[in-house]
Symmetry: C4
Subunit: 221 residues, 4 copies
C-alpha cells in the first residue's frame, strides 16, 4: 500500500484543486444580466444592476468560503503523506459538498432581497450547506488523525491535537451560524464571513518556530 | 517511441483529470433555483426545494459515479508507463462518455418524479450512458493489457488477469443495471450506487503484500 | 531569457491544457433536456430525445476535433523548449479559437436538422471556425519553426520540415472543408471527421527509429 | 514558515491557473445561439449571427484581458518564492475579480449595440471591473515587494522598482480607461485593448542580459 502514497495524495490534491477552482469560478454564472425588456418603464440599466446587489453579495461570500476551504484543504494535505480507500471516499463526499455550493449561492442571490419567509429559507439552506461541508471536512481530518499512519510521522501529537481542536471548534461555529440563520439571516451571514476571515489566519502550528521535518524533504521533488 | 512515454501518460492523466473535475463540478448546474413566480398559490420555497429531490438524488448518484470512475482511471494509469496512438484515441472516446454524463443526469433529474413512461425512459438513458462509459473503460484496459508493452513490465500476469476479471465483471454488472432499468428504475439506480461503492474498495492487487517495484521508482520524480 | 524557458513552456502547456479540458467538457452544455410540456401531443420522451440527434452528432464531432487539436498541441510543445512573447501571444490567439468552438457547435446542433438555408449557414460557420483554429495552429508552428531558437536544438531539420508540411497540408484540407461546406454540409462534416482521425495517426517523426535526445532528459524532472 | 514556501507558491499558482483557465473559457457561454423563431420575418440566420457582433467583440476583448492578466500573474509568481497568509488572502481577492469578468463581459455583449445610455452603463461597469482587477493585482505586487522576504533574494532592487513603476503606471491607465468610459465607450475599449497588447510586451527586467540566478535552480525540479 505504501508504494502508491506520495503520488496518490498528489493526484487527489490535484483533482480536488480542479474541483475547487471550477466550483469557485462557476459562482459567477448565477449573476444574470438584467434584461431591460422585462424591466418596468423608466427603469435604468444602472438601477437594475444595483437591484442585483444580493447576487454580488452572494458571489463575494461564497468566493471567500470556497477560497478559505481550499486553503485549509491544501494545508491539511501537506501533512497527509499516504492515502487509502477511506480517505479517497471521504474526500469524494467532501468535494460533493464543495461542488454543490454554487446552488445554495444562486438560491441566496435569488431570494436575499425577497419576502422574509423566502429569504429566511434561502439563508437556512445556505448556512446548512456550509455546515454540512464543514462537517465532512472535520470528518476527513478526524479519519486521518485517527489512523495516524496516513500522516507525516514526524508530526507532533500536540500539533495534531491543536488542529483537531481547530476543526471541531470551527464545526461548532458553523452549527451556530446554521442555528442563527433560523433567527436572523444577516447575523448568520456576518458570522460566516467572520469565520472565513478567521480560518485564513495562520494556524497555531505555523506560528511555532521552524524545525526540520520530513516534509521539507518531500517538497524537493 | 519510448522517449515520450513517462511524460506522455503524465499529460494524458492531467488532461483526463481536468475533464473529470469539470464534468463532476458541472453536475450542479442541472439543479435549477425554483422560481416562486411560477409556483402555485400557497407554495413555499421550502416546499418547492423539497419537490426538487430528483435533482439532488441525480447529483449525488452521478457525483459518486464520476468520482469512482476517476479513482479507477487513476489507479489504472499508475500501471501504464507508455502511451501510443491507440491508447490516446481510446482515452478520448472514453472521456467523451465521461463528459457526457451531465446530460443523462439532467434528464434523470427532470423526469425522475414524472409519469412512469418518462421516468423509465430517463432511467434507461441514464443506465445506458453509464454502461457505454464502462464499456469504453474496459476496452481501454483490454487494449493496454493486450499489448503489454504499454504496461509496467514488473507487473505480474496474475495481477493483470485479476484486473481484467474485475473490469469485465464490472462491465457485466453495468449491462445488468441497464437491463434492469427497463423493468425497475429504482432497482437499477440502487445497483448503480452499489457498483460505485464496490469499485471504490481496494483491488485484489492492493491487498497483496508490498513488494518493491519499478513503480515506486517512477514516483520519485 | 533562457532562464525562464523550461518552466515557462511547462506553464503555458498547463494553462492550455486547462482551456482544452474545459472547452471540451463544456460541449455537453449545448445538449438541452427536452421539455415534454412544449412537445406536441402524443410525443414520447424517447422520440423527443431521438429528434435531438443533431446535438449528439455535433457533440461527438467537436469532442473529436478538440481532442485531436489537444493531442497535436501537446505533441508540438514537446519540441518547444523555450518561450517568448510572440509565442505567448500567438498561443493566446490560438486558445481564443479553441475556447470558441462550443459556440459553433451549439449553432450546428440547433440548425443541423432545420431548413437547408439555416443548416448551411450553421455548417459554414462551423467549418469556418475550425479552419481559423487550424490557421492559428499552423501560424504558431511556423513562428516556432522559423525562429528555431525556441525549438529543441537536437531536432533534425528534416523532421521540422516534415511537420511544417503536415500542418500546411492539414491547413489546406481545413480550407477545403470550409469551401465544401458551401456546397454540401454532410460532405464537409465527413471530411472534418476524417481529418481528425488522420491527425491522430503517428507522425512521420515518431515512426523513425529511436535516438537519444535532449528531450528524454527534459522529461526526467 | 519557510518549510512550506516553494511548494506553497506552486499550489497557489496551480489553483490560480485553474481559475484563469475556467474564467477565460466560460466567456464563450455568453454568446447565445440566435433563435430564428423569435427573429423578425425575412431574417436570415446569417443576418442574426452578424447582428451579434457585440458578443464576439466582447469575447475577444475579455479573452485578451484575462490572457494578459494570466501572463503577468505568472511572470510575477516566478519571482515570489515564499507565501504567507497576506499573500494568500490578497490572491483570493484578486482571483475574485478575475472570475467575475465573465459577468461584465456578458453585460457589454448584451448592451453594446443598444441605446447610448445603456451601452454607456455597460461600458462603465466593464472598464470599472477591469480597473478593480488591476487595482488588486497592483496591491498584490506592492504587498510582495514591500515585504521583500517573499521575493527571490537575488532580485535586484532596480528590477523590483521597475516592476512597481510598471504596475502603478498600468493601474493609472486602467483608471484613465474607466474615466474615459464615462465619455466615450469606444475610446475606452480601444485603450483597454492597447493596454493588453502593451502588457504582453517583454518587461524591462527581461531585456537585461542574462545572469545566473537562484531562479534557474528552482526551475530544475
Amino acid at each position: 500500500m505504501d508504494r502508491r502514497s506520495g503520488d496518490d495524495t498528489g493526484r487527489i490534491e490535484a483533482f480536488s484543486d480542479g474541483v475547487f477552482a471550477i466550483a469557485i469560478t462557476l459562482l459567477v454564472i448565477e449573476i444574470g444580466v438584467p434584461h431591460m425588456n422585462d424591466a418596468p418603464l423608466g427603469a435604468t440599466l444602472f438601477g437594475e444592476l444595483a437591484d442585483q446587489w444580493p447576487s454580488y453579495l452572494a458571489y463575494v461570500i461564497s468566493f471567500l468560503q470556497i477560497g478559505v476551504i481550499w486553503a485549509n484543504h491544501h494545508n491539511r494535505f501537506r501533512f497527509i503523506v499516504r492515502s487509502d480507500h477511506g480517505l479517497l471516499f471521504l474526500n469524494i463526499l467532501f468535494l460533493m459538498c464543495v461542488a454543490f455550493i454554487p446552488f445554495p449561492t444562486a438560491l441566496l442571490a435569488e431570494y436575499l432581497g425577497e419576502t422574509t419567509t423566502e429569504s429566511a429559507t434561502a439563508g437556512i439552506v445556505y448556512a446548512g450547506s456550509l455546515m454540512v461541508t464543514a462537517f465532512f471536512f472535520t470528518l476527513l481530518w478526524l479519519y486521518v488523525a485517527g489512523s495516524r499512519r496516513l500522516l507525516d510521522q514526524s508530526l507532533d501529537l500536540t500539533i495534531i491535537r491543536a488542529m483537531t481542536r481547530r476543526y471541531v471548534l470551527g464545526m461548532l461555529f458553523y452549527i451556530l451560524a446554521f442555528a442563527i440563520s433560523f433567527v436572523s439571516l444577516a447575523a448568520s451571514l456576518v458570522l460566516l464571513v467572520v469565520l472565513a476571515l478567521l480560518f485564513i489566519l495562520p494556524e497555531a502550528s505555523e506560528r511555532t518556530p521552524e524545525r526540520p521535518s520530513r516534509r521539507s524533504q518531500r517538497r524537493i521533488r
